[in-house]
């Protein structure tokens, strides 16, 4: 209860004043006075203890899952390595955990109020990096990385260029990745064999494969296994995947006329949103696949639901955010899922480009932080080579931003060299900017995802896209792009 000292003091002060006049409350006043003294003593002690070290506040989700080598499996026990780091650098690392959307909320409140409460913050490359970067809330890391002081932690040669690119906005690197993934397709080899389905390399083949699976399952009377599991819940949930489809079907990020995908391009060409135009084919394909080959509740599914379905053996293919399948394989208790899952490169769309899906779980520094240099040290600890190796060792996910970690024994032993290299290729060769990097990105991702959910649940693609287009025009105009 140490942290509540000041508050309780002020609080007691206030209540006591109110009751000062009435003799009946003398006892209460006496009690609060001695309580006050006690608390003052405690306060002094706490202040004395805390004075020497710099306190760096970090906020993240995945308690017990992320940073196992630093905070243990409960997320609250500091490991020896962390304690050594703290001692060496005279820093106290204060880690706060929460649920993903709640953490994002807290980060936002802190950034908006400029209060600098959190020094190291969680970012995603699907909106947070771009929006906060443009708004000036994040501290560019270029100077730190180029200074050479952090070479022991980060080997810039070792990190896949696409990862750095994904975390960069207009030349400023705002985040360092803890894990990241590119697109892929994970499927059940046993079920493919059973129905004589070949691994598709184009979307046309993919749809044919889906149809064959559906027919085969129906013929066998299996009604609780679905050919495909994807996510189409409202909010920004499906957006990474849907926009990946859009890219593959149009051949470019078809959000604005002419494919303008940067702030300058859009402004220079006064490029209006194109959601009812070139955006449509990919969107429609996604919706169609979800409705025909996915489970009934797919319009509510988050990546967790998608992953669960696969790990319960109720889906044949999970794509394009294949990493979620690896999570599912890791947590499954069914041998047939664990032993018969394989990874394949994601198919190409009509344009010849692959379906995209890229995301990085990154951390950045609050521009309002009062201890940026120390925060950078903590950031290096959290996203440096050792932390990433420990994560890979624990989860056995082929999602490491470092080539050396990706090709480490842990992963090669588990999946074999071929599969690891395929995953590497997917991450390395990703077109990370398959959606526009603009300040309004977070908002667009949310809106697109909601439109997807709507279209999947009602079946009305035209209506969903019309609404989306209208909203986009309003938003871009209000943001001053077309003046």
């Amino acid at each position: 209860m140490g942290g509540s000292v000041d508050g309780t003091l002020a609080h007691n002060e206030f209540v006591t004043k109110q009751l000062h006049t009435d003799p009946a409350w003398k006892g209460f006043r006496l009690m609060s006075r001695s309580l006050r003294y006690l608390l003052a003593i405690v306060a002094l002690a706490v202040i004395a203890l805390g004075a020497a070290q710099t306190r760096i506040n970090v906020i993240s989700f995945s308690q017990g899952f992320a940073f196992p080598d630093l905070f243990g499996s409960s997320g609250t026990e500091k490991s020896d390595r962390l304690l050594a780091f703290e001692k060496e650098n005279n820093i106290v690392v204060n880690m706060e955990w929460g649920d993903e959307s709640a953490v994002r909320q807290k980060v936002l409140t802190d950034l908006i109020s400029g209060t600098g409460r959190y020094d190291v913050i969680l970012l995603g490359t699907d909106g947070a990096v771009q929006t906060y970067g443009y708004a000036g809330f994040l501290e560019p890391l270029n100077a730190y990385l180029e200074s050479g002081d952090f070479d022991a932690w980060f080997d810039l040669e070792d990190i896949y260029p696409s990862i750095i690119e994904a975390n960069t906005v207009e030349g400023n690197v705002y985040g360092m990745s803890y894990y990241a993934f590119g697109p892929g397709m994970v499927y059940r080899t046993d079920i493919f064999d059973r129905y004589d389905v070949e691994v598709p390399t184009t979307m046309v083949e993919f749809e044919a494969a889906m149809a064959k699976l559906k027919a085969g399952l129906a013929a066998d009377g299996i009604s609780d296994v679905y050919p495909l599991t994807m996510r189409a819940g409202p909010g920004e949930e499906p957006s990474l995947d849907v926009t990946g489809f859009v890219y593959a079907y149009a051949g470019y990020p078809a959000w604005f006329e002419g494919g303008a995908a940067t702030v300058e391009d859009i402004k220079a060409n006064k490029a209006q949103p194109d959601f009812t135009g070139a955006f449509r084919p990919g969107f429609e394909a996604f919706v169609r696949l979800a409705r025909e080959y996915g489970p009934p509740g797919i319009a509510t599914h988050t990546w967790v639901d998608m992953m669960n379905l696969y790990s319960q053996g109720k889906a044949v293919v999970l794509f394009p955010s294949a990493i979620n399948a690896y999570a599912g394989i890791g947590s499954t208790e069914l041998a047939e899922v664990r032993d018969n899952s394989a990874f394949a490169a994601v198919p190409v769309g009509p344009s010849g480009k692959q379906v995209q899906s890229f995301w990085s779980f990154s951390f950045g520094i609050n521009a309002a932080s009062r201890n940026k240099d120390d925060a950078m040290k903590v950031l290096a600890l959290l996203t440096g080579h050792d932390a990433l190796q420990a994560f890979a060792d624990m989860t056995v996910w082929p999602a490491a931003p470092y080539a050396s970690v990706m090709r480490s024994d842990t992963l090669i032993n588990r999946y074999g060299e071929e599969e690891v290299l395929l995953n590497e290729e997917a991450m390395r060769d990703s077109e990370t900017h398959y959606f526009p990097y603009i300040p309004e990105l977070a908002d667009f991702m949310f809106q697109i995802g909601t439109a997807t959910s709507q279209a999947v649940s009602t079946g009305d693609v035209t209506r969903a896209l019309a609404d989306l287009q209208k909203w986009a025009v309003e938003t871009m105009t209000a943001a001053g792009y077309y003046r």
């Binding site: 509540s4 989700f61 955990w97």
Partner: protein, 270 residues
């Protein structure tokens, strides 16, 4: 006629009891499963129970979070009653025009939606330096519990006949005396109900408690939400915490039931 209505009401109570119980039982069952088991499709009712979720609860040191919730809720009840009952009484017995405005103003405070108040409240609490303290959450909750208490007690006092108060005043009692010796004893059931509602609201409140605290002053709903995250949907753990939170509260309610009945007998002696 009476027997038929008895049967109907009895049947209705049974159905409603079932309605209440289903999610709670589901929660309890969930707390005894492993994560994988909890995600089976279709779900299993027969399975090998395990206590690993409860073990995590005990190991995770959630005692202090529960303590926070109890303290905050308790302070809220104390303050709501302490400040609210006199205010409600005054409002109830006041002359008409002044009272209408005040009463209305008191209620309208409760009307603002949470999202509207998050940023202003955060800025305010930050400004007075109370972030991540129990005081911050108490303050935030008071914006809702105090008006609630005042409003409920006020409408209850409105229906209390003034004869006894009049007699007491004529006998020379002060307003405070009337309040303490006449009104409060007559309001037993209502006071208990209000105390309960205030406690429960504070106990359950999530948004403000979450935004305004991190680790020191974290409350139970915030803790639960942090565990039921999208990244690591640990249903059994969340259920285990909810069940653990329920048990003491359920016992408190059982006692409150008796208090209500006792208050009733007191009230009958007018």
């Amino acid at each position: 006629m009476r027997r038929l209505s008895n049967w109907l009401l009895g049947g209705f109570i049974s159905v409603y009891a079932l309605f209440v119980l289903v999610p709670i039982v589901w929660l309890a069952i969930g707390s005894l499963k492993t994560r994988f088991q909890s995600l089976r499709s279709p779900p299993t009712l027969i399975f090998q129970p395990t206590f690993e979720a409860f073990q995590k609860v005990l190991a995770g040191g959630v005692g202090h979070v529960f303590g926070n919730s109890v303290t905050i809720a308790g302070i809220n009840v104390m303050l709501a009653l302490l400040l609210g009952i006199p205010a409600a009484y005054a409002l109830s017995r006041m002359r008409r025009p002044a009272r209408k405005n005040l009463a209305f103003w008191v209620l309208s405070i409760r009307l603002a939606p949470a999202f509207g108040l998050v940023i202003p409240l955060y800025a305010f609490i930050r400004g007075i330096g109370l972030i991540d303290t129990l005081g911050a959450v108490v303050v935030a909750h008071m914006t809702i519990t105090l008006p609630l208490a005042i409003w409920l007690m006020m409408s209850y006092f409105d229906d209390l006949p003034v004869d006894i108060e009049e007699a007491a005043i004529i006998d020379g009692a002060s307003r405070l005396g009337v309040l303490w010796w006449v009104i409060i004893p007559l309001s037993g059931p209502m006071i208990v109900a209000v105390a309960l509602l205030v406690f429960v609201f504070s106990w359950n409140e999530f948004l403000f408690a979450f935004i305004l605290t991190s680790s020191e002053a974290q409350t139970v709903p915030a803790l639960i939400a942090s565990l039921a995250g999208t990244m690591n949907f640990d249903w059994p753990l969340m259920s285990a915490i909810s069940v653990t939170a329920l048990l003491p509260a359920f016992i408190v309610i059982l006692f409150a039931q008796r208090a209500i009945t006792e208050g009733l007998t007191m009230g009958a002696v007018k």
